[in-house]
């Protein structure tokens, strides 16, 4: 193969110094960082990097998406399922601006990404050159860090810094914008040095023992301690430490949707989901506990509802790696600033044996009420019309909770988060903080690359799927084994629910028509089926899961079903409505 020669010429690891161009130096750096998969879309301003990529195709797999938004959501899905940094390439101008939604999504959900964008030649900067957009300034508010490279010699150092920043502390997206001249420029490449220190950056705060002791004392004194956990547990790879912490004294624990899967769904201390469409017991009892222990979560308003009525009776222990989160929304009594992988065992060690079974039983009591009034009718509906919940229930039975569930945004997302079972961490991938429709399908493609051995099911609404439906093309071309489960209610369901409940049923532009999804899938060479009878549900889901390769299953569900319970906007969590 003729490309081999070039590759040998570009193998600087062994040599002291080699002449490389900026693009080759970039790819060499990615290899040292352990990158194997890149999602991207080429264009004029990033062509030198793509030219270099031609020679690296056996080491760096590049997935050509159909839209840059698909590329970055795929990189997010990859990062979330694998725990590694997701990498995405895009060209200047429109290519780069198409990344913005995903960058903002990754920023608010703390997803580690390195985005590489091409930029016009440095001498053209500021001249309104073809496809010139000031990407560094546009992305400043939605990146953890960004940098424009105008000289090839900067590339190894900047890339190393980018990876260090993306994955340490509270992770997040970083962006490197590389002008075309820097991509082409040759220089003496002296190797790639990973970065582990930046003078002005302190990702790992020193843990203060006094706060650990105070936290433990509060928990030891508590009669009704209650733990809330978020994605920090997963990002800190502290699942084991977290389990040990709650199990030592039997602390009931509830999750944010990004924290979901950190402990198994059926864990005896798992008391369910927090927030607007969360479970009844954890929401109500938030306003009854005496000590609230928040671990790696940031008190988002979708979780807290009205802040001035949120857990006012409780002393708050807040564990977070990001000091800016402490006291941001909820005033803490004891702030435990640090990596929870480190802080949790320190607190656990100081916990005294306590029996909280009576308190836990209170959760189970309220849960019974929710089962009766909401869960039972949702999972076993009386009429002929299928509910979203029963689809998830059957899916659980068939996957045994072992699948990665990637959701889009809307009612189906809330239903999936409420009812899907998870056995292992990094299994629930969803757009939390930004609530980005169009996230599901491309993120599922990325999740599959991040965890190739696991079953990946994208659960999408009929609306959201159509925002990034072109990514079926990516599945077709690269053979990504993603199962797409469309829960079709012929509506922009979640907005319709709000219009029904709060706008007098004035259904303003929420009625959405869809193409024949199965035919569309067929056009992309993807197998599929559509069902509207309950009798077909189990076999259709089984067919989807057993199918070798990608599959699209559309399930027609109730048109005007609502997701309950619900904490209406502007209400306190204890005002949660069961109907």
């Amino acid at each position: 193969m003729d490309t081999l020669d070039v590759k040998e010429a570009a193998a600087p690891q062994t040599e002291k110094s080699t002449t490389l161009n900026g693009s080759q130096a970039l790819l060499e750096g990615l290899l040292v960082e352990g990158v194997t998969t890149i999602f991207g879309y080429p264009g004029g301003a990033i062509m030198p990097i793509y030219d270099a990529l031609y020679d690296y195709h056996d080491k760096l797999e590049h997935i050509l998406v159909r839209h840059e938004q698909g590329g970055i959501h795929a990189a997010q899905g990859y990062a979330r399922s694998s725990g590694k940094v997701g990498v995405v390439f895009a060209t200047s101008g429109p290519g780069a601006t198409n990344l913005i939604t995903g960058i903002a999504d990754a920023m608010i959900d703390s997803t580690p990404l390195v985005c590489i964008t091409g930029q016009v030649f440095a001498h053209l900067l500021g001249t309104d050159a073809f496809q010139e957009t000031d990407v560094v300034n546009i992305t400043a508010p939605v990146t953890k860090w960004n940098y424009q490279v105008t000289d090839a010699t900067e590339i190894p150092g900047v890339l190393a810094k980018a990876f260090h920043i993306a994955r340490t502390g509270r992770p997040g997206p970083v962006l490197i914008d590389i002008t075309k001249n820097a991509q082409i420029q040759k220089f003496e490449y002296a190797g790639y040095e990973p970065c582990n220190h930046i003078r002005s950056y302190r990702p790992a705060p020193k843990v203060r023992k006094s706060y650990i002791e105070q936290a433990a004392r509060l928990i030891n004194e508590a009669k009704k301690p209650f733990v809330l956990f978020g994605q920090g547990v997963i990002l800190g790879e502290a699942e084991k430490e977290f389990k040990a912490f709650i199990e030592k004294t039997g602390l009931p624990a509830a999750w944010t949707i990004l924290g979901e899967s950190a402990i198994p769904s059926d864990h005896y201390l798992n008391v369910g989901m927090l927030g607007m469409h969360g479970n009844y017991a954890p929401n109500v009892l938030t306003n009854e506990c005496d000590v609230l222990i928040a671990v790696g979560m940031r008190f988002d308003d979708r979780v807290t509802g009205r802040l001035d009525k949120y857990a006012k009776q409780a002393k708050i222990v807040h564990l977070d790696i990001d000091p800016a989160e402490i006291d941001k929304n909820v005033q803490s009594t004891v702030p435990v600033w640090g990596d929870c992988k480190e802080t949790l065992p320190m607190i656990t060690a100081l916990l005294e044996e306590k029996d909280h079974r009576q308190w836990l039983a209170k959760f189970r009591e309220l849960e019974q009420q929710e089962i009766k009034e909401v869960i039972e009718p949702e999972l076993n509906p009386a009429g002929d019309v299928m509910s979203m919940g029963e689809v998830i229930k059957v899916l659980n039975e068939l996957t045994g909770g072992e699948a990665i569930i990637v959701t889009d945004v809307g009612q189906h997302q809330m239903v999936a988060c409420r009812y899907a079972d998870f056995k292992q961490s990094r299994s629930n991938i969803t757009s939390g903080g930004l609530g980005t429709m169009g996230f599901g399908l491309p993120a599922a493609i990325g999740a599959k690359y991040g965890a190739p051995d696991r079953t990946v099911v994208a659960i999408c609404g009929d609306g959201g799927l159509q925002m990034t439906i072109q990514e079926f093309g990516t599945i077709m071309q690269f053979g990504a084994d993603v199962k797409t489960l469309i829960l079709n209610n012929h509506f922009l369901g979640m907005v319709r629910q709000w219009q029904q409940l709060f706008n007098d049923k004035r259904y303003s532009f929420v009625n959405i028509t869809s193409p024949d999804f199965v035919k569309v899938a067929e056009g992309y060479g993807i197998a599929g089926r559509s069902i509207d009878q309950r009798a077909d549900l189990r076999t259709a889901l089984k067919e989807m899961l057993d199918h070798k390769g990608a599959y699209v299953l559309e399930v027609m569900v109730g048109k005007e079903n609502n997701v309950f319970p619900m904490v209406p906007q502007g209400c306190s969590v204890s005002e949660i409505r069961l109907k």
Partner: protein, 215 residues
């Protein structure tokens, strides 16, 4: 130079006991000297719809480190949260916020006035002396004076000069130095010495928690 809250910009000068009342705060940010950081910091204010009253950026005594002095009028709670968000920026080494009582601050003002008017009218000369102005450039057509002080002081000379054919006026942003404590120099030196160190600089705000909140 007296050092009290400026009358014009701190209407609630005695509001230290009222945390929900807006006050003048001076935020001092020590950063790497890096392109784009000005925008990142500016965004943090504009995003919260906070008006920046005054902004000064200059190199510090340590090479490669810049100092931002930013004056805003806000409630303390917002300022303390904002301060932590600023400090979170990768290239920010440290950020502090202070009320006027905690700092010594100055602004520099320059006034361009017709030379003939000044030389002819002794009153003007007296004015300049009264305000402690210095001549920094004297030409046949105009003279440039400078004064240094708080806003109301430079404002005073400005108002006084206005009737005498003031040609041009300019005022710098605030520069400020903390009154008590050893100030920032030691901390900066520490940063420099520890490079490349893994040590954590404690968060000032959290340090004071015990005084602020009791269990």
């Amino acid at each position: 130079m007296k050092n009290q809250a400026s009358i014009k910009y701190a209407p609630a000068a005695d509001s230290s006991s009222a945390p929900h009342q807006k006050k003048e705060f001076t935020i001092s940010v020590f950063t790497e000297n890096q392109i784009g950081l000005l925008n990142r910091i500016a965004i943090m204010f504009s995003r919260r719809k906070i008006n920046v009253e005054s902004l000064n950026v200059s190199p510090t005594e340590i090479e490669g480190i810049s100092r931002f002095t930013i004056v805003i009028t806000e409630v303390e709670d917002v300022v303390s949260k904002l301060n932590r968000q600023i400090e979170k920026q990768v290239e920010v080494l440290k950020s502090y916020y202070n009320v006027n009582e905690d700092i010594v601050w100055q602004e520099l003002a320059m006034y361009k006035v017709p030379t003939n008017v000044i030389s002819e009218k002794a009153k003007v000369e007296r004015l300049l002396r009264e305000y402690g102005a210095q001549a920094v450039a004297i030409r046949s057509d105009y003279t440039v004076f400078e004064t240094v002080g708080h806003r109301e002081e430079t404002e005073g000379l400005l108002n006084a000069l206005a009737p005498y054919g003031l040609i041009e006026f300019v005022r710098s942003a605030r520069v400020a130095i903390i009154k008590d404590s050893e100030g920032f120099h030691a901390k900066l030196k520490e940063f420099e010495q520890h490079e490349p160190s893994q040590e954590v600089i404690e968060n000032e705000y959290l340090d004071k928690r015990d005084d602020v909140f009791t269990m």
